[in-house]
Each structure stands twice: as structure tokens, then as C-alpha cells.
């Protein structure tokens, strides 16, 4: 996905409500994707994303345009997810992602469904810091320096987290493929 037109961000920063709505439209799905994968629960993810955009609106005047808007946005989103993880830690993790055709489907569809579920289960089993690093790097396509600004971790630590996450996912999903 390409980055948002900075003139929209600048207009939103000046208080243009339409521009802010456009900004929300542009990034909502991506933020929701990250939050769903981080929190493993569609409802919590929705709440985290809604909170994020409310905070973005409240703090836009402080956004420094030398920072990439996307990094700034994901920093707030990642914070919200972390906060919610602390609150929801005692709850069981329920993976709700997309509509899975439980009652029908051909064999390939069922295989795809099992594959999706296994990915979610494996992702949920990752330590939160590794899951976050993996998603930011491979799914959101961010550079390590940007990830450092988002997570507060050093580049080498982030590389290690991504590496460990990949190793874990490879082993878990390779087992599924062999089964």
C-alpha cells in the first residue's frame, strides 16, 4: 500500500475534518489488520484502532512531519495494543479473523481454512514482542529503524526478535504441512 498523500495529513493537522476522515479511511484496514494479529480478537482490535485514531486526532498538532506519518501512527497503535494486552492478559485469547466456512467447502478450501487457523494459533503462541516485530517487518513492511522508533527497541534486538519469530513459525507451520 502506498503512503498517504501528505497534503491530507497537513490539512487534517490544520483541523480539516474531511481530511481527517480521509486519513482514517486510508489507514483503518491496515491498522485493524495489525491489531487483530496482535490481540487475536476482532472486538479488542476494533477498540484499539478506534482509540488510536481518537488519539491521533488529539495529537496531530504535535506530529513532526520529518517523521514518516505511518511510523507515527503505528507507534500510537502499537502502544494501544500493548496497553490492551496488559488489560486482556487474563482473558483467553480468541482468534476471530474473517469468516471461516465451517459447514461447507471443498477439500482445498478446508485445507486453506486449516492453514489460516494454524497461522493464527502459531502467531498467538509467539511472545508478544516477537509477534509485534514480525508483523511490523514482514506484514507492514517497515524498516528496522522505523520499527525501532515504534517499539523503543534497538535494531539488533528487533532483528533477533524477527529471526526467532520466523524460526518458530517455520517449525510450527512446517509440522502442519507435513500432517
Amino acid at each position: 500500500m502506498s503512503a498517504i498523500d501528505m497534503s491530507i495529513v497537513q490539512r487534517a493537522k490544520r483541523g480539516d475534518r474531511t481530511a481527517f476522515a480521509a486519513l482514517v479511511d486510508f489507514y483503518y484496514a491496515r491498522c485493524l489488520r495489525f491489531a487483530v494479529h496482535m490481540l487475536g480478537n476482532a472486538q479488542d482490535a476494533e477498540e484499539a484502532v478506534q482509540d488510536t485514531f481518537v488519539r491521533v486526532h488529539g495529537a496531530l498538532h504535535r506530529y513532526d512531519e520529518f517523521d514518516r506519518f505511518e511510523s507515527w501512527l503505528f507507534r500510537i497503535l502499537a502502544n494501544r495494543c500493548r496497553t490492551m494486552m496488559g488489560r486482556e492478559a487474563r482473558r483467553s485469547r480468541v482468534v476471530v479473523y474473517g469468516e471461516l466456512p465451517h459447514d461447507k467447502g471443498t477439500a482445498p478450501e478446508v485445507d486453506a481454512m486449516v492453514w489460516r487457523e494454524e497461522i493464527q494459533t502459531a502467531l498467538a503462541a509467539l511472545p508478544a514482542a516477537q509477534r509485534e516485530a514480525f508483523l511490523l517487518r514482514h506484514v507492514e513492511g517497515l524498516e528496522y529503524e522505523e520499527m525501532g522508533r515504534i517499539t523503543g527497541a534497538g535494531v539488533s534486538a528487533l532483528k533477533m526478535r524477527v529471526k526467532r519469530a520466523c524460526e518458530f513459525l517455520r517449525v510450527r507451520l512446517a509440522e502442519v504441512e507435513r500432517a
Binding site: 491496515r30 485493524l32 489488520r33 488519539r55 502502544n79 487474563r90 514482542a129 506484514v139 517499539t151 517455520r170
Partner: protein
């Protein structure tokens, strides 16, 4: 082998990159919440984009333990104890001296209790922090603030919500709601009901155990802190909020 492994990761990433469906009213809800926050006077200010760190520096921390550490007396004590080589070593005393200290402490305790006014002799603190603050006038203090309705001690599973009563003395208000992190700061989720005789508003809200921040929203606009509760600043906006600890001793 290596290529096969990378292929697995690529397939995982392809699957994870699928964008979820966005609710049709998502943007409208964001805008409505922005308007509500503005009406409530929440002033965006400090620290909104400071990184909230995971509570451990290790990468092996399981997600289920991701709760921010709370610095407090216990941690300060731990640190001091560590520096002093441990509490046991630091405070090791002989038996006669210990008896002497105990007697002296008992005597001092009696003297202090005798010196306090009647109203302060009882130290039956509520299980929440809010009971420690000054009490408002007019209405019996026990009816204000936050009170766990259900027995905390009987709760075994920490994730089970505890019924918490939120109370505010606001006789001239037309509407009062409690908003907090437990209801996504939604002013419509938990309206308080007014007792016509006393003008005291109250509501019982199920809240999961843990530390929560909240405030009262009076007449849909006035952000009102609980006069009996400790206060803290919101990490994002710097707005003051009340704090309640539910189900934790």
C-alpha cells in the same frame, strides 16, 4: 531446505497480509468519539507517542504476562533490601531487643490511637484505593466513590468481573455516566441512576480485576473526577483521571 523454510514464511506472510473487512461505520464512529472527547474537554497533550515498553527486556516473555509493572512501595522495598543485602540480614536482632521493640511499638500505637479524633480511629480501608482520599460533604462518605459489591475474597478466577459500584454526589446534574478504560470511555455504556431523596447518583458496573482509570461525565460535558479516588494523568492526553484497583489487595 532453506528455500522450503522461506517458502513457509512467505505463505504465512501472504495470508497475514489479507486486509480485514472494515465496518461501514468505522470512520463515523471515530469522528463521533473525537467530538465526544472534545466536548468532554479532554486536552491532548503530553506523551501520547512515547513508547510504552513491554514489561521485560527479554524476548521470551509470553504474551499472557504483558502487564506493565507498577513501581510502588514493594519494588522500592525490594531495591533497598537488595542493596542492604536482604531484609533478613539488615533487620536481624537479638530476642530481648525484639521484645523491647515490640513493647515500645505497642505503647506508641496506643498513644497515637488515643490522640486521634473518633472519626479517624477506624482504619477499615475499602479494597479500593479511593477510600484513602478526603470525603465530600453532605452525604455519608460510605455512599460515595467506588465500592466493590461482590466479595473480592470469594473470587478465585482473576478474569471474572467484579461488580463495582460507582457513586457521585451531584444533586444538580441532569445526567451522569461513568467512563473508563473498562467501557472504552463510552459515555452511553454505564449511566448512573439518581437517588431522588439524596441527589446521589450510582451505578453498578462489572469490572475485571486490575487497575482501572475512570471519570464521571456530568451532563454529557463535564469531566468530573471522583473526589474519593486517587488521581493520575492519562498517558496520552495528560488529562486527569481517577484510579480504582479492583480485586487486588
Amino acid at each position: 531446505m532453506r528455500e522450503n523454510q522461506d517458502d513457509v514464511i512467505n505463505r504465512i506472510v501472504d495470508e497475514l497480509k489479507t486486509l480485514p473487512a472494515v465496518p461501514a461505520d468505522a470512520t463515523a464512529r471515530v469522528l463521533a468519539r473525537v467530538d465526544a472527547a472534545r466536548r468532554a474537554g479532554a486536552s491532548p497533550d503530553v506523551d501520547h507517542d512515547d513508547v510504552i515498553y513491554f514489561p521485560t527486556a527479554t524476548d521470551e516473555m509470553p504474551a499472557a504476562t504483558a502487564e506493565p509493572a507498577r513501581p510502588g512501595f514493594a519494588s522500592a522495598l525490594d531495591e533497598r533490601s537488595r542493596r542492604a543485602g536482604g531484609l533478613r540480614r539488615r533487620f536481624m536482632v537479638s530476642l530481648p531487643a525484639a521484645i523491647g521493640y515490640a513493647l515500645a511499638a505497642t505503647l506508641v500505637g496506643f498513644l497515637i490511637r488515643g490522640a486521634l479524633p473518633d472519626g479517624r480511629r477506624s482504619t477499615n480501608a475499602a479494597p479500593t484505593q479511593v477510600a484513602q482520599t478526603a470525603q465530600p460533604t453532605e452525604v455519608a462518605a460510605s455512599r460515595l466513590g467506588v465500592t466493590p459489591v461482590a466479595s473480592v475474597a470469594s473470587r478465585e478466577a482473576e478474569e471474572v468481573p467484579i461488580q463495582v459500584q460507582f457513586v457521585l454526589d451531584a444533586p444538580r446534574a441532569k445526567r451522569v455516566a461513568v467512563v473508563g478504560d473498562f467501557n472504552a470511555w463510552d459515555g452511553t455504556s454505564n449511566p448512573l441512576v439518581r437517588d431522588s431523596a439524596s441527589g446521589v447518583w450510582s451505578a453498578i458496573v462489572p469490572v475485571t480485576p486490575g487497575r482501572h482509570v475512570y471519570a464521571f461525565l456530568v451532563d454529557d460535558t463535564a469531566w468530573t473526577l471522583d473526589p474519593r479516588a486517587p488521581k493520575t494523568k492519562d498517558a496520552d492526553y495528560g488529562t486527569e483521571q481517577s484510579v480504582v484497583i479492583v480485586g487486588m489487595k
